[in-house]
Amino acid sequence: MAAARAGRALRAAGGSCCHRCSSSSSSGGGAGPGFRPPPHSRHDWIGPPDRLSNLRPVIFHVPRDESALERRLREARQDAQAWNQRFWAQQNAAFQQEKEEFIYSRLKAKGLAVRDETGQKATLNAEEMADFYKDFLSKNFRKHMHYNRDWYKRNFTITFLMGQVALVRALRWLRWKKKSVGN
């Protein structure tokens, strides 16, 4: 069973080295060193949520006849993906760390051990955590404002580019159809 799985993994990893594909640059745990899309695939591939950022990494397919417009689109998407990944990985890590510090300091203040008799980690209930949530939100407010503005800009740009690419492809297909009907 394990051997079969190992075999499959190796095949998947080694199978498509010659296939041109670009993976997200600083995607942390999500893209992983192992995954390569199969060589015959002409689509992007999306993976499981990244451990740190909860965003799903995308491996973008680079077609052989990629036009300048399509390249711009792909680069914009890769850029946005890397930027998003950085932001959320950092944000979530900071949240976890600060949350643990808060819990630890509160437990210490209460005089409780971090682990109780059964070995379980002690936790605070939601009401006690409320102070932390409020504090965290207000501390990061400005950062979120900047992020929102940038995110909306990127989202619109990418979608607009997608629209342009789709339009160009549709026109190209129509022209090809006309030509083939003419012949």
Binding site: R56, T123, N148
Partner: protein, 454 residues
């Protein structure tokens, strides 16, 4: 996962919406009502069934409300793997999580050093075998190819079809309560137009919120987050719903309803959605968004915006607060981490006060209904028990400010609204009575007829 499968026979609440049960791969006790089911270990599960949709669960795990989709026969998704991941993620909500070493700046406090030692120890105990994890991860990669047979389900989730259905119901209630003879064509056109407008608004909302939805447990299985549909397609779908929807309302019903529909889409997508991350005032804007559909239903029937429309809108407006504030109480962690400005996080006292205030306001608004000649005086009397009950739960929420009281209030609000509207409709003042009294509505009915003719 296994918890969702186990289910003791549910207690059926007052009949709400009756949906056909869809046979799914997960064995469940067949139920045809929206109901609560109490399972061992204090976990509440609400089931909502639709005959053409995948099932959605609001599950409570570790005292946290979250929602996840379980695709029935989604060939693209592997639900089991994802659910396992979900379960794991859920489990760590209120515990100190053993996370892998994140680069941290050197700190002088003893607290941090002690924490690091503990984390290291936790890591050693908690890691899975690398090979198994890797091949499991590989299976989770999906090709981003749109499959046509998945498209209806994807679009249903994109347009938040259940919420849309609720919005259409409230619009129908507005139509039904209007003091004019019932016109079936107009009713169907208005419902369809409202439904399309709601689909459009919800799709645009999801389009704007992809990275935020990814980070919240409740929303991380949305189609755009999972890459099942491209943003371009989502926008095209929104346009292809919104434009015909508003056109239908403007041309097929009346311009006033069309204008309200367009305004509501604008309010939801361009005001409420961005404001969620900027200020707590978003809740009030969202309440207006929820209040407009019954007003639209009324104007569709009568062609004019009169006191009855505003009253119905007012009832829906007030209802939004206990509903949403109670829901948001359990999502404070996700809101805080995701950067959402919600009262439950920043102004918890205000959150509970406002919820209580509006529960009580519902009683007042129900009393105004007969004054405006919309219903008979039996309406405030019959609706008093349910209004008092929700006010009582609102008071408990205000006083206790804990997870269980917020959950109770939220689930109560789910059945309270349909019941209230049903009671309202059954107590509607009949036209005959009004014509006998020879009051104004006869005249306005004539006016309405004029406005409807092209």
């Amino acid at each position: 996962m296994s918890a969702a499968r186990r289910c003791s026979p549910p207690r059926a609440l007052a009949g709400l919406f009756i949906w056909h049960l869809k046979k799914t791969g997960i064995r469940q006790v067949p139920c045809q009502f929206v109901h609560l089911c109490r399972v061992a270990n204090d976990r509440l599960i609400t089931f909502q069934y639709f005959n053409f949709l995948k099932r959605m669960y609001v599950t409570q795990y570790n005292k946290d409300l979250s929602q996840r989709a379980k695709p029935k026969s989604d060939s693209v998704a592997s639900p089991f793997r994802e659910s396992q991941q979900l379960d794991q993620e859920k489990k760590v909500i209120h515990k100190i999580i053993p996370i892998s070493p994140v680069h941290q700046p050197l700190s002088k406090t003893s607290n941090i050093n002690e924490l690091k030692e503990m984390k290291l120890a936790a890591e050693i105990e908690g890691s899975a075998t690398p090979l198994r994890a890797e091949s499991k991860e590989e299976r989770q990669w999906k090709e981003m190819k749109l499959r046509l047979d998945d498209l209806p389900g994807i679009l249903a989730r994109l347009s938040k079809i259940k919420l849309t259905a609720l919005v259409v119901c409230t619009a129908s209630a507005g139509f039904a309560m209007a003091p004019v003879p019932f016109d079936l064509t107009c009713f169907l056109l208005a419902s369809l137009g409202t439904g399309l407008a709601s689909c459009a608004a919800n799709s645009i909302n999801q389009f704007f919120e992809v990275p935020f939805d990814s980070n919240m447990n409740r929303t991380k299985n949305r189609p755009l987050v999972r890459g099942q549909i491209s943003p371009l397609l989502a926008v095209c779908f929104a346009a292809s719903c919104g434009v015909p929807g508003i056109a239908l309302l403007t041309l097929g019903v009346n311009p006033l309803t069309g204008a309200l529909g367009a305004f509501n889409i604008f309010l939801y997508t361009c005001c409420y959605t961005p404001m969620k991350r900027m200020s707590i005032a978003n809740t009030w804007v969202g309440a207006v968004v929820g209040a407009i559909p019954p007003v639209m239903g009324w104007t569709a029937a009568t062609g004019s915006l009169d006191a009855g429309a505003l009253l119905l809108g007012g009832i829906l407006y007030s209802w939004q607060f206990p509903h949403f504030n109670a829901l948001s109480w359990g999502l404070r962690e996700d809101y805080s981490r995701g950067g959402y400005c919600m009262m439950s996080v920043t102004h918890p006292g205000l959150c509970r006060r406002v919820a209580l205030r509006h529960c009580v306001a519902l009683i007042g608004l129900s009393t105004v209904a007969p004054v405006l000649d919309i219903t008979t005086w039996t309406f405030p009397i019959i609706s008093l028990p349910i209004n008092l009950y929700i006010s009582y739960l609102g008071f408990r929420f205000y006083r206790d400010a804990d997870r269980s009281s917020s959950r109770k209030l939220f689930f109560c609000s789910l059945w309270h609204l349909p019941m209230l509207l049903l009671v309202m409709f059954s107590c509607k003042k009949s036209l005959l009575e009004k014509e006998e009294k020879g009051d104004l509505h006869g005249g306005s009915h004539g006016r309405a007829m004029e406005m409807r003719l092209p």
